[in-house]
């Protein structure tokens, strides 16, 4: 293969060779080799094309510049081809604006349709029955904005003054982009993994796996063996019938070893994507694995995700306890002159520690005094009393505690405002002692129970039909939702199994969904990696029972 070893996640990433596909891909690759390379001319720099495409950087390190009419030029990252044509090179669309695919497989072939070639992924922007581009006419398109037939390209497509060497490396990159076998996809099976960390809650973990296993079984219920490709209503050929196979990757040992374990699993059991999953105190090693191995990791059950929205492959439901910290910070800022100090109580090594740190950082900007206290070891009652010692009027107490600790709380400090993490405390089921219930405000990063009731009929009805015991409603609903989102997105993609494209399609389609379990709405975009962005602050309506009353509207901090 020519210079296929480019940066992580790029074209030609290593993967297994599911027989026929690999052979076909190699043949195509050979056919696409520029004559110069074949004739042993100096090889063009692979990394340069990728940097230009992805980051908008010229080989000199200077920002790429694209010109557009009326002075609306673009620079650097805004000029990067990936900004519009996307990382996969398969394009996109926004309203009526279609951004065509620009990988070599489309540009350099005579207007084939995928009807003639089932292996050509179907993408929205591809116009069949056209002349193929040549290196020269493609360079003209990029420099002068004229397509293969000499027609002027739309105003959005910038014109780039690139020298010959830079142009060659860009075109070479386009030829290599999104070719090659797709790991985890065979002619009859799609392989997915889910990840379980050793510190995940055992009950929630069982609940999640029940949902996943049943969803996959259900999906395969209609499988009748390998079938010839079908034609979709849009005239696209695809295979309806592929089994879904789930690989449960259970991690062990300390977090420092998880990334290595995951890479080993991936090498042994290639998967197309990771769906759902469940974590405990940290998910960072799994996040790193997804990003480094270029595997989409869709919507795991984690309360403390990694906030790195420039990363591409990991996608989360929300910022979890970090979102709650933002909600609390907003409340505290409006806390009035009586508020002098914020005392946070957390358990070392639990997700609350990260939340407390985040809130502490936000408080620093407000001038409020902040203290974060870890609950000591030993029996919960006295340890919590020690953590709360000396609190009273003028203080706001923020509890990042699990139900076990909430149950054991001593008498509340007199005159303090009290906030508690709904996510950690189990939302409306939080077992707060009576004296705390009356004064505590709870962050609630979901839609309110009353408002989501009708929507919840979908997952709950499915659990009941499938005889799945509901042991952790929220985790199981999120798991079900992750499966449905994956299934719908793949349905739309027909046979275009490209990992980057899966992420791009989830990004583009997610906000179209209307029924989203615990969430009022979900939405992503390039550079957005948290689908639900807000929450409420609530308090208990009565001394007993689960009824909540909101103190705020839905707030996206």
């Amino acid at each position: 293969m020519p210079a296929a070893a480019i940066g992580r996640g790029g074209a030609g990433r290593p993967g297994p060779s599911p027989g026929a596909r690999a052979g076909w891909a190699l043949a195509l690759l050979a056919a696409l080799l520029p004559p110069a390379a074949a004739a042993g001319a100096p090889p063009v720099s692979a990394g340069a094309g990728e940097r230009l495409y992805r980051l908008g950087l010229l080989p000199s390190g200077r920002p790429l510049r694209g010109e557009r009419e009326g002075g609306a030029g673009v620079d650097g990252p805004d000029a990067a081809c990936a900004t519009c044509h996307r990382r996969s090179g398969l394009g996109s669309w926004e309203g009526q604006t279609v951004i065509p695919p620009i990988i070599g497989r489309y540009l350099f072939r005579p207007g084939a349709r995928n009807v003639e070639d089932v292996n050509l992924p179907h993408v929205q922007g591809y116009v069949p029955h056209r002349e193929p581009y040549t290196d020269a006419s493609l360079a003209r398109a990029i420099r002068e904005g004229r397509d293969r037939e000499g027609r002027r390209l739309g105003i959005l497509m910038p014109r780039y003054r690139l020298d010959a060497a830079t142009m060659a490396s860009l075109i070479a990159y386009l030829k290599r982009l999104t070719v090659g076998p797709v790991p985890g996809v065979t002619s009859d099976t799609l392989h997915f993994a889910t990840v379980v960390t050793p510190d995940a809650d055992p009950v929630a973990r069982r609940g999640m796996l029940d949902v996943l296993e049943q969803f996959f079984a259900d999906k395969n219920g209609g499988y009748r063996g390998e079938s010839p490709p079908l034609r979709s209503p849009r005239g696209v050929m695809y295979r309806v019938n592929r089994k879904w196979q789930l690989h449960v990757w259970v991690l062990s040992g300390p977090p420092e070893t998880w990334e290595r374990q995951l890479l080993d699993r991936l090498a042994r059991e290639p998967v197309f994507a990771v769906v759902s999953g469940i974590g405990g105190a940290t998910w960072a090693p799994v996040h790193r694995f997804c990003e480094h191995a270029a595997v989409p990791c869709l919507l795991p059950n984690v309360d403390l995700p990694v906030v790195a929205e420039q990363d591409f492959y990991p996608i989360y439901f929300s910022k979890g306890v970090l979102l709650e910290a933002q909600l609390v910070a907003r409340q505290l800022q409006a806390g009035g002159p009586a508020l002098r100090r914020v005392v946070q109580v957390f358990r070392k090594g639990d997700v609350g520690e990260g939340a407390a740190r985040a809130l502490q950082a936000q408080l620093a900007a407000t001038g409020l005094e902040g203290v974060a206290r870890a609950v000591g070891s030993g029996p919960a009652g006295p340890a919590l009393a020690a953590a709360l010692a000396g609190t009273g009027a003028g203080d706001a107490v923020v509890l990042w505690l699990r139900p076990g600790d909430l149950k054991a709380l001593p008498a509340p400090p007199p005159g303090s405002a009290v906030y508690l993490s709904g996510l950690m405390g189990k939302l409306e089921e939080a077992p707060l002692p009576a004296a705390w219930r009356g004064i505590a405000r709870m962050t609630y990063p979901f839609d309110l129970p009353e408002q989501r009731r009708v929507r919840m009929n979908f997952p709950l009805g499915w659990f009941s039909v499938q005889h799945i015991p509901v042991v952790d409603e929220r985790v199981q609903t999120d798991t079900y939702l992750a499966c449905v989102i994956l299934s719908e997105t793949l349905g739309h993609m027909l046979d275009s199994f490209v990992r980057d494209y899966l992420v791009e399609r989830v990004e583009a389609m997610l906000s179209h969904r209307l029924v989203n379990g615990y969430y009022p709405r979900l939405g992503l975009a390039p550079g957005q990696r948290f689908a639900s962005k807000g929450g409420y602050v609530v308090h208990f309506a009565q001394p007993t029972g689960a009824r909540l009353l909101p103190d705020t509207g839905w707030v996206a901090p």
């Binding site: 926004e94 309203g95 009526q96 959005l156 906000s511 957005q528 996206a556 901090p557």
Partner: protein, 208 residues
């Protein structure tokens, strides 16, 4: 598209002969195609219509964090140029925003007499702080403000201007101009250039 005849009639009825601001005049004089720049200029990549939009009494949050009423904000007496964007949009919005940035340049000192308005259609993501950063990236002057708010408020604003397409990913490029409170809106569907917008604005102001 909206009936072009109505526009022609509306503009003809206004009977304007532009007392264009100095800068625009100077450019016209130097422009060999100045005769094209007459009032009913046609736009290269956009179509123009007029409409009355009833502004709903909703609150939006401005890029400085202040909660403001949409009608009050738009009825500040100045001519308004308005669009809908979101900051993580990679294709259409940066283009529209750049056109606004060029427009503000093109208007020069005149710009302070205009109110430029960009309303987010992804309000939960586009917090005031994110909008302020976006505004800085495009060197927005004090006359160009960005607005967010609740999802409901953003949708209500989009519906009021008949641009709501159900989802942020389905949006289309549209710009709105209005000479003064109570006047009709000019709606420009497509990519108008900064020059075309400046031109349209001058016509409207002259007709006021």
């Amino acid at each position: 598209m909206r009936a072009p005849r109505k526009i022609a009639a509306a503009l003809a009825a206004a009977g304007l002969l532009a007392s264009l601001p100095a800068q625009a005049r100077a450019e016209e004089a130097a422009d060999p195609h100045a005769h094209h720049h007459q009032m009913m200029m046609s736009m290269k990549r956009a179509t123009r219509s007029t409409a009355d939009y009833a502004l709903p009494a909703i609150d939006l949050v401005r890029d400085d964090g202040k909660t403001v009423s949409l009608p009050a904000e738009l009825d500040d007496g100045k001519p308004v140029v308005l669009n809908f964007i979101f900051t993580t949009c990679t294709t259409i919005c940066p283009m529209m925003t750049q056109v606004f940035a060029r427009l503000q340049e093109r208007l020069g000192p005149e710009r302070d007499r205009v109110h430029m308005v960009s309303i987010s259609i992804d309000p939960e993501q586009d917090t005031p702080a994110r909008l302020a950063a976006y505004a800085r990236k495009f060197h927005a002057g004090p006359q160009w403000r960005y607005y967010t708010g609740s999802t409901e408020a953003s949708v209500a604003a989009q519906r009021a201007f008949d641009v709501y397409r159900g989802d942020k990913m389905d949006h289309t490029p549209v710009t709105f101009l209005r000479a003064a409170p109570g006047r009709r809106w000019v709606r420009i569907d497509g990519f108008a250039s900064a020059d075309e917008l400046a031109e349209a604005l001058h016509e409207l102001v002259a007709a006021r």
